[in-house]
Symmetry: C2
Subunit: 234 residues, 2 copies
DNA sequence: CGACGAGTTGATCAGTGTCAACTGCCGTGG
DNA sequence: CCACGGCAGTTGACACTGATCAACTCGTCG
């Protein structure tokens, strides 16, 4: 957390054993992985981690910060596919394809550990658990995508926004402030809306004392009310 | 194809070696799998293959027909997540969770091969390639989901409908009829629209001789035109 | 023959997008 | 140090897409 400003883009050894992902592989495994020289990289906002269509060389594990994965239409509209949170894997494409199928950019900043796919392949040959772990993570992602498809396809704007806020804050204990790392634009691109509609609902809910917002952080005041909105019963 | 009417719901030995999925595992593997008594099951439209929230006991491979995977909101709106085509795997949930996270129903009819997850687990222990194969398939699904999220989040109705038609027909050679296994309602639920809007665009394109429709089948007459619509340049 | 379900079409309305003006904040440079 | 410019966000007026409601056709099946 404290070394962000220091070494942007710096590459160092990645303490793999810290990650929940590989935790279950046990100590000797992380030694193996370390020897394979997986790297830890820092990114600042606006610098791409990878770009759709470019060579997919690494699998990433997010250590700190947030990453947005997005795709763009030919006309330049962006859709955010997923917000990656610490501990999660992203950049699966390289395991199957030669190029990435979406782009990855940090929200504010991000620290990620990356492993070259060819090394991962070698590793997978020795330790089949690796592929099992990735499979499990991948299935989880798929379930998450199912849910997002339901949101985008079957819910109206207020419902999407409400359930976004609920799920965004669910990690933090109730009545605590949650940093809102996303801009209005990014929320809009995540939910398939415009900046203005996002802004309007936020304003309304702040007036109605359903949520509070203060220096890039939000707090849900009336969880119950927000839930009824999310289920379109208001 | 010819034995549908005969034994609905019948269960028989599944000729696993026919599947592209496990083809690369070689002959001795499919023997193993056969001995594990994976089953082949026939389904008719309207009978569920599995229901969201129920015990996730099997992994499925579709042999013939089409299956729709869908989720429902609390208010009863359905969103189709994916249309499964022959050769594809579905029902990954059991490998990670105890229950299914969406429901699966055949479109018209379907013939699927299913493998109990616990057997798959045993098998995975012996033959790590199995999990690698599932991982690969799963990543493909994830890419597909990314694309669908872009469609639903960033495109207007005509664009969604046009690119749906294009992708639906892309398997069949140009100027040949493609069976349209989906009802208007199902197309609407897939694209996050209403029956009426689907119907209206179809009608318009038929008038403009962009597409033709005849007994449950469609044919694209003006691919180029449809593509410009899909990219919202018309 | 009649009833029902799927699909079509029209009229109307509501929800969001679009466009534009305005505020407030922050960093830059004179 | 202040002024300016620019960017993020807000708010209002308006337009338009797509949903809703309703009537009607057509084909199928009892």
């Amino acid at each position: 957390m404290m070394d962000y400003q220091a070494n942007d883009g710096a590459i160092s050894e990645c303490p793999v054993d810290e990650f929940a992902v590989f935790a279950e592989l046990g100590g000797d495994f992380s030694d193996t992985l370390k020897r394979m020289a997986s790297e830890s990289v820092l990114y600042t906002a606006a610098e791409s981690i990878y770009v759709a269509g470019t060579n997919a060389r690494h699998l990433y594990i997010l250590r700190d910060g947030h990453v947005k994965l997005f795709k763009s239409t030919i006309n330049g509209k962006d859709q955010i596919i997923r917000i990656v949170k610490p501990g999660e894997i992203f950049g699966f494409d390289g395991l199957v394809d030669t190029v990435y199928n979406h782009s990855a950019v940090p929200l504010k900043h991000a620290k990620a550990c990356r492993i070259p796919v060819e090394r991962l392949r070698l590793l997978g040959a020795q330790r089949p658990e690796v592929e099992r772990l990735i499979m499990v993570r991948c299935i989880k992602e798929l379930q998450h995508a199912d849910e997002r498809l339901l949101e985008l396809g079957a819910k109206r704007s207020a419902e999407r926004l409400a359930s976004f806020l609920i799920s965004w804050c669910e990690a933090t204990p109730a009545d605590r402030w949650t940093p809102l790392v996303l801009s209005r634009l990014e929320i809009a691109q995540l939910l398939g809306l415009t900046i203005e509609t996002v802004s309007r609902f936020f304003a309304q809910w702040k007036r109605d004392e359903v949520v509070e917002e203060r220096n890039q952080a939000i707090r849900i005041l009336d969880q119950k009310r927000l839930k009824t909105v999310a289920e379109s019963r208001a």
